[in-house]
Subunit: 328 residues, 2 copies
Amino acid sequence: MPTIQDVAKKAGVSVATVSRVLNTPSAVTEKTRQKVQDAMQELDYAPSILGRNLRNSESRMLLVLIPKISNPFYLRIVEGIEETALDHGYNILVCQTHSKTERESVYFDLLKNRLADGAITMDPTIDKDKLVQLARQFPIVQCSEYDKDKSLSYITIDSELAAYQMTKFLLKQGHKRIVLINSDEKFLYARERKKGFLRALKEFDIEFEDDWIYKTNNVTFEAGQQVMRSLLSHKAGKFTAVFAVSDVLAIGALKELNIQGVHVPDEMAIVGFDKIDFTNMTFPRLTTVAQPMYKMGSIAVDMLIKKIRGEEIEDVILDHELIIREST
Amino acid sequence: MPTIQDVAKKAGVSVATVSRVLNTPSAVTEKTRQKVQDAMQELDYAPSILGRNLRNSESRMLLVLIPKISNPFYLRIVEGIEETALDHGYNILVCQTHSKTERESVYFDLLKNRLADGAITMDPTIDKDKLVQLARQFPIVQCSEYDKDKSLSYITIDSELAAYQMTKFLLKQGHKRIVLINSDEKFLYARERKKGFLRALKEFDIEFEDDWIYKTNNVTFEAGQQVMRSLLSHKAGKFTAVFAVSDVLAIGALKELNIQGVHVPDEMAIVGFDKIDFTNMTFPRLTTVAQPMYKMGSIAVDMLIKKIRGEEIEDVILDHELIIREST
DNA sequence: TATCAAAATGTAATCCATTACATATTTGAT
DNA sequence: ATCAAATATGTAATGGATTACATTTTGATA
């Protein structure tokens, strides 16, 4: 591979001039620029980003931390991140943490190693103190998850409000016994959605018992299905609606309802959260809360890049939207 | 951020010694190593990968090109790639080409720029000649897609055989009129699966007409649904089974069957291809062809790394498996 | 034509780590 | 105690680009 030296020699100029043609073309005569560009063409020269990055001490790389790439929710956010990052001349490093602290550390080291200029994290299981400390040294933006009291920048939706509204919608439809399928409460969104759920119940004077809330460790189709199986065998007839805090769980639960011949929505209403693509393909289609996932990713990048440039940024809370479909 | 110089000064040794502690600890006295490690600890030193990469002229980064990240099929492969790459000390750059040549070029430039040590491409729409030429200079492995006549390394399954077997399965079940929902034939897999489909028909002496094959431009749920809608309105009653070359298309088609109240599998059988997670959640569950996607990704990385090291590699064809479920 | 500011180009330091080669130190046998 | 061999450490070049500063060229003006 040819280097900038080779080009300089071939064009009969100095390396500085070649570099200028690349970076500040206006500082170079038309004639020399032509010479240099011809030489580059001839040699099929492409500047080594390794060299450039070292000199500029930047990597033009953004770290994106997600629990699992197979969760469609994160996927759409990542799409938003990717597109926007690319527009700004950054590439992204998508890393799955599997919600394990060791993994997280490994990836955060990429910041220390200057392999990434900043990070967007969507993983809530992180050791918060460490994250806060890291954020003092490196540009970091939290996406979707956040921490109220801590000094970390974030972009999210108002999960509590959305859950409150969705629950209220179910209550207004006449449901009195609603089961909440929650994911692990280490996730802030899980705690928030539960809070909104309870607030709505309270407002409608529905008495509430702890065993109306089911928790799952994994956010997978199977986990949702499992919960519904167990619900149907223990509590059949005692509830008429299910609120799952994630579409993936809702889809699994819906599947079990289908299998057991429980008619949706006549015998049982079910709602999810996120509006992932699949919710449009279930039978019946799933009522859910739309999060502007793509936009969230896109803005997260904007925020992060501002941070990298040393600008001040403000936290962002995006709007959500209830999507009422045939499962209710 | 401290540099290796800082550590050297603090530990009272030369930079060479610090580097040795990092790279060849055996070449250093226990005592000095301790000193150096203490210094590193104290300064919270992490070696700059930028510097290291420049010196070693490698980036320890692999390029992964996929058409669209939102296609669950590629997703699972990417998981396999990520895990395996990480085990080998490589990070991956997942890039969506959106099947556009401009995008591809941009990403391939990352190879020329030494930002990636090699590439795994799953995108078939690439300008093949350019790819072949590129592969002469850089380590490249094709995954899932490939080119028989060209000199490019690849890993794949035998799509033709799988499609043949699946079609035969349908024929044995007594279906005589089977519609093929194909994706764009620019994809090799599309051409291969069609070939297998036709081979089976021929073997069963089924006369074949061109209008039994539907092509879609996009591999999305909506596209599958659209095709089925059109099928039902133009050809209702004239066919009893549908073979979609991709689960995503099959799921969309199945959705339309559900909507229109066509019973699956009694009135209509439907099969897909890939065994993406969601096929387990449809109603009824989808019969499909399992591709060892994770393994495919994993082996692709092994191949690529061997190539990077300059070793010889052989192409790989992995086994597939028919997954017979309730949609047939 | 001589002069001089502005524009263009060149020289060399710099970013940070690795490593060949040179030098210093230790080891152990005599 | 001595010295060669083996081991440990240091010096300095290197990788490829950017850029402050120095130098040369250009071209307008007197």
